[in-house]
Subunit: 340 residues, 2 copies
């Protein structure tokens, strides 16, 4: 453990991913990059959320299991440092399940059904009334994830903010019942980057939509994805003026171009005409190859050493067990539950 | 541990009580007496269901905590032998919470809402849509209780039979997903005794209705309860013929009288007239005092020795932890979840 991690007064961040597939560039822009920075200044727990993934993948536990390692590889490949961040496996933390059973008594079914994120996802997944009970309850499990680690900061997209509010509601109820602040409230840490669109121009990059570039993508896959990328459908000849807004190639240049001035110069050129899609795409491809090449190489090297990755998960999960177990004991004590 | 308990081939029984109040004569007739007999021939786990009690008592965890000991005292006082039965505390068994989180993914919300017992109790408790999520989920937690102990027999009242059916439904889903029978199905063991009415003549004896005689009732409390007991409201004079049906005193004589012929003789006398309520009540009181006196004395002696009671709970809970943890591991393995 590094000296930094033993600093007790660093604010605690809880973040993580459902283990349903390898991560992609959308995750990189939206969260991973941020986490690599945050681990320098915060105590950061990264939860491999396999238990949550099962709430709508109970029919395919093998996929959920396999992707625990895939996501762990993605984390390490992008620069998550196990000396600075704790990577842990959700389903191996019994206190999370125990706290969830407890918290479920402090939330009504009506309240869960009103949760906008649950509502959206029920619609998205076509669940209707056949929603698995575990899926209805998952905002409570998320409140547990946050509070069990005593996290006060939760990096989430804007659409996830209601989850934090729901978590704080549970916290206030339990604190009121306990008669003291046994659990801290948390606040959302909303990144100031926009969401990365899919390569097809759709609002969200997503593996299931087939419009994602995986962090483990090969050079050819990257090349092909950029070639197929949605641009300005009315920009037929290089000499025509083109539109930058909604043009995925430029969205990506905004997200990944490190030379801001050069990107602005390209945009101006494209707008006034005389800059062909192929040329802009070549520029983007160079940037993405330069970004993903080293990630892919590190990832491949790590994949050759599963023993090391497992030891990282073992250490992180051990640390997470201590923390979450302590919170569970504290809550039991505060509510005055039976002890032996 | 006695030699009997190490016999591996005895069928497993799971039973228990919510820890919301001390037990009463209704429990004695309906289940406790039966459990004392069953422990001779079965491996029996008695669950002090404090976690389940919290699903509708989250506002009063102190009551739930206090009654863990009260119910344990009742068990030991009526003759549950910790060398033959395992008494364990539900909220101290993490595998139960972990399995519940897993099972919740195999049951839909619609199915839980259709559960007749849940429906009845929602009505009874006036919950409507403000039902706590934990309460909606408790049939799943019960399925876990049953299966985690690998119980194949569950002594329940007739009204609880749908719970066993729901448990078996979950079992079949998990077995189908696992591709093998990792969990056994269970069947209800419905006692051939009727339900004991309250002393006021209401169908069910219940502490909250104030019509119960506690197993710890003092001689005076028993005396008073029998004196106030509902009989035949039209039986005004001893010389009048009286009605035995719906007459609580006779229901109790049926339940507790050991001399069947004498009870039948009393009934005939009461029916043809010439037998006063006071006289029948005195007979019942003698029987109840003889039954409850030794139970009360043993209970009082045990209450003086909380260290012993705690050691019983510690041993039972340890054994229960082993068993339930093993089941959780088996289910994880069968579903192919991630391991470290």
């Amino acid at each position: 453990m590094s000296a930094e991690n033993s600093q007790e007064n660093r604010p605690v961040i809880l973040t993580g991913d459902r283990t349903t597939g390898p991560l992609h560039l959308g995750h990189y822009v939206g969260s991973l990059k941020n986490r690599v920075a945050l681990q320098e200044t915060h105590e950061q727990f990264l939860l491999l959320a396999d238990a949550q993934a099962l709430t709508d993948n109970a029919h395919d536990p093998e996929k959920v299991r396999r992707n625990v390692m895939e996501v762990a590889l993605d984390y390490l490949a992008v620069g998550i440092d196990p000396q600075k961040s704790f990577i842990c496996v959700q389903s191996l933390l019994p206190a999370l399940a125990e706290l969830t059973m407890l918290y479920l008594n402090f939330v009504t079914v009506a309240r869960l059904e009103r949760n906008p994120t649950v509502k959206d996802e029920i619609r998205l997944r076509g669940f209707e009334r056949d929603i698995p009970a575990g899926f209805l309850c998952y905002p409570v499990a998320q409140a547990v994830d946050i509070t069990a680690f005593r996290a006060t900061l939760v990096p989430v997209g804007e659409d996830q903010a209601p989850m934090i509010e729901q978590s704080n509601e549970v916290v206030r109820r339990i604190n009121r019942q306990a008669g003291r602040d046994v659990l801290p409230e948390a606040r959302a840490l909303i990144p100031n980057v926009g969401r990365l669109p899919g390569v097809d121009g759709k609002a969200k990059m997503s593996k299931s939509q087939g419009n994602a570039i995986a962090l483990s993508a090969s050079a050819d896959e990257i090349s092909q994805a950029v070639r197929m990328m949605y641009t300005d459908p009315n920009h037929l000849r290089a000499s025509d003026p083109g539109t930058v807004e909604g043009n995925v190639v430029f969205s990506y240049l905004d997200a990944f171009g490190t030379d801001r001035a050069a990107v602005e110069e390209l945009k101006a050129h494209y707008r006034r005409g005389g800059l062909g899609d192929m040329k802009v795409k070549r520029r983007l491809e160079d940037i993405l190859q330069a970004l993903l090449g080293p990630i892919r190489e590190r990832r491949a090297a790590l994949a050759q050493d599963p023993g090391y990755v497992l030891s990282v998960l073992r250490d992180g999960t051990r640390k997470a067990r201590e923390r979450t177990q302590q919170t569970f004991e504290d809550v039991r004590e505060a509510l005055g539950l039976f002890r032996l």
